[in-house]
Amino acid sequence: MDVLNPMTYDAEEDQLRDRTKYSQMDKHIIPVEFQQQPVSTGTTIVAVEYDGGVIIGADTRTSAGTFVMNRFTDKLTPLTDQIFCLRSGSAADTQAIAQVVTYQLDFLSAEMNEPPLVRIAANCVRRMIYQYRDDFLAGMIVAGWDKKLGGQVYSCPLGGLLVRQPVTLGGSGSTYIWGYLDNNYRPNMTKDECYDFVLKGITLAITRDGSSGGCARIAIINKDGVERIDVLGNDLPKVFDL
């Protein structure tokens, strides 16, 4: 057990959590064909900072096992007017977190009489994930714009970590595009270059990952507000035809 570099994921504990989570009787009573898999946004989420704001993007598939429950989900959830969170993991868990944090930030902005900082929003999300780390399955990215530091992207993965990164990926589909990121991301890209980077990354992940699919939803957040762009299936950029 390495104290300085603790494991962020323990497979045995995860299985134990699974065994105690749902009713044990389900396994014995319900035939395996009817046992429902938990709904997850097995997903691809991308966020990147540029000079003046952030560009965030996600695919649009929500699945329960192999069944696609929603082909046009919106995984870009606003926490405030200029701060968004990207959700990956269990759909129920991430929706609950987003709801609670939206309330907390609303209350905070009434107290402070100014919009909350992105770091504060990210910390609220991180606090919830850390507090319920044994129960939640939520990997989130919080990104937005505030007056103090401009565009920021914070990553809040499974165990309850908070780290600011200039570019970050999340979700099951992200594993297929880390290489693409390493090869194609450069610091200080322009807004259009960042947009192309995000869109191409999501398209590549959609093509390979079974849990990601549908269309790409992208949002550009800067001092002027939020611009949302939905890129439908046939408008996605062409990638190598497998």
């Binding site: 395996v32 898999q37 097995g42 695919d59 598939r61 699945s63 096992g65 192999t66 069944f67 696609v68 082909r71 099951s172 297929y176 959609i206 093509t207 390979r208 990952d209 079974g210 849990s211 990601s212 699919g213 549908g214 299936g233 035809d241 497998l242």
Partner: protein, 207 residues
């Protein structure tokens, strides 16, 4: 995706009857649980001039069962000196599968055929241990089979001609696989008539 062995690789196939013609279609995905590895893995195999079989399920068994069936059909054709009929092929397949009743192959099968002289059409389907079915109008197998069944029932009309049949089959397949993350990534449709067989590859959503 859980540890359901029949959805480990994914895949789906559909067969529909028309007037003296048959259509059989399958998707082209080869994947391992979430990850898509190739999009050129078709699951339809030809065993005679007008007899086709499609296997869906565990990919290794798709390959093995199709090859073992080919072995038996080759010997049949050599011994009997005649081509296979669809119901004979179906019997051979179900026998092959039942031989492994207590350690089965993980494939579900669709057998389709046409008698070129009389125009009589055959569609049979089988589970992985060789349960026989009647000669049906519409059959699907695979991870997205329930979704495609619904659409197939909607688009099916009795006595369709080859073009209408192609449209109905492709629309049912392409839209059904949109609801399944383990199938899709393109499709191939065979339309079998008395005098010709038309193969069409469909593009579909690559997600």
């Amino acid at each position: 995706m859980g540890d359901d062995i029949l959805s480990y690789n994914g895949g789906v196939a559909l067969a529909m009857k028309g007037k003296e013609c048959i259509a059989i279609a399958c998707d082209k995905r080869y994947g391992v649980q979430n990850r898509t590895i190739a999009t050129n893995f078709t699951k339809i195999f030809q065993y005679s001039d007008h007899c086709f079989v499609s296997f869906c399920g565990l990919a290794t068994d798709v390959q093995t069962v199709s090859e073992r069936l080919k072995f038996r059909t080759n010997l049949y054709e050599l011994r009997e000196q005649r081509k296979l009929k669809p119901n004979v092929l179906y019997n051979m397949l179900t026998n092959l599968l039942y031989e492994r009743r207590f350690g089965p192959y993980f494939v579900f099968a669709l057998v389709v055929g046409l008698d070129p002289k009389t125009g009589e059409t055959f569609i049979y389907d089988s589970d992985n241990i060789g349960a026989v079915s009647d000669n049906v109008n519409l059959a699907t197998v695979g991870t997205a089979s329930e979704y495609i069944f619904g659409l197939g029932e909607l688009f099916f009309k009795p006595n369709m001609n080859a073009d209408e049949l192609f449209e109905a089959t492709s629309q049912a397949l392409l839209n059904g696989v949109d609801r399944d993350s383990a199938s899709g990534w393109g499709a191939v449709v065979y339309v079998i008539e008395k005098d010709k067989i038309t193969v069409r590859e469909l593009k579909g959503r690559q997600d």
